[in-house]
Subunit: 95 residues, 2 copies
Amino acid sequence: MAMHNPPHPGGIVRRQCLEPLGLTVTAAADHLGVSRQSLSELVNEHAGVSVDMAIRLTKAFGSTPETWLGLQMAYDLWQARRRIDDIKVDRIEAA
Amino acid sequence: MAMHNPPHPGGIVRRQCLEPLGLTVTAAADHLGVSRQSLSELVNEHAGVSVDMAIRLTKAFGSTPETWLGLQMAYDLWQARRRIDDIKVDRIEAA
DNA sequence: TCAATTTGACAAGCGGCACTTGACAGACTA
DNA sequence: TAGTCTGTCAAGTGCCGCTTGTCAAATTGA
């Protein structure tokens, strides 16, 4: 059921939140209560959605913190699957 | 639909994974490929489930990375809701 | 009972990352 | 032309997951 290639949440913020409202990064950062650089890094996909940011996005644009963090989780997991074979684990069979 | 008071994933690892199999923290850490301290901190609820750890838990005990990380997300979010009123955001109305 | 194992904790250190303020040059705009 | 917006760099802070090494206390087993 996992998405084929999950988008970075930052791009979603840009396309689904900022652009439809004609909001600049500077203005949106001001509303969110974070620095312009911090939001810029997010929307340019150089930073992820933190718990704090998920709450801010929800308060400002709606949806739920679970949704925002779920997008981030899906993205992180997709990236991690690239190196999944590097993670060596002894499967546990029985006691 | 959020859980009332989500358990820390570390407790679940201890009760649902280690104890049923009679696994010691030391032995399980060895199987997981992490240090004893690292797993100890998790099961004693002093550390969270990272993406890396979620993959290790899945490989060793089953379930899915999404499930493990989802448990962590639910826990983190529950904790964050305590200070949710401290996060000041200007709700965005219109352009 | 004695010895080995297990445990939780502490310390020091490393790397990553989200966040801040300050600054800069380039682009766009009124 | 002047002001705004942008991406990015730098420097610094704090948190956290992870490591190795160590320790005392508790548990376990021959």
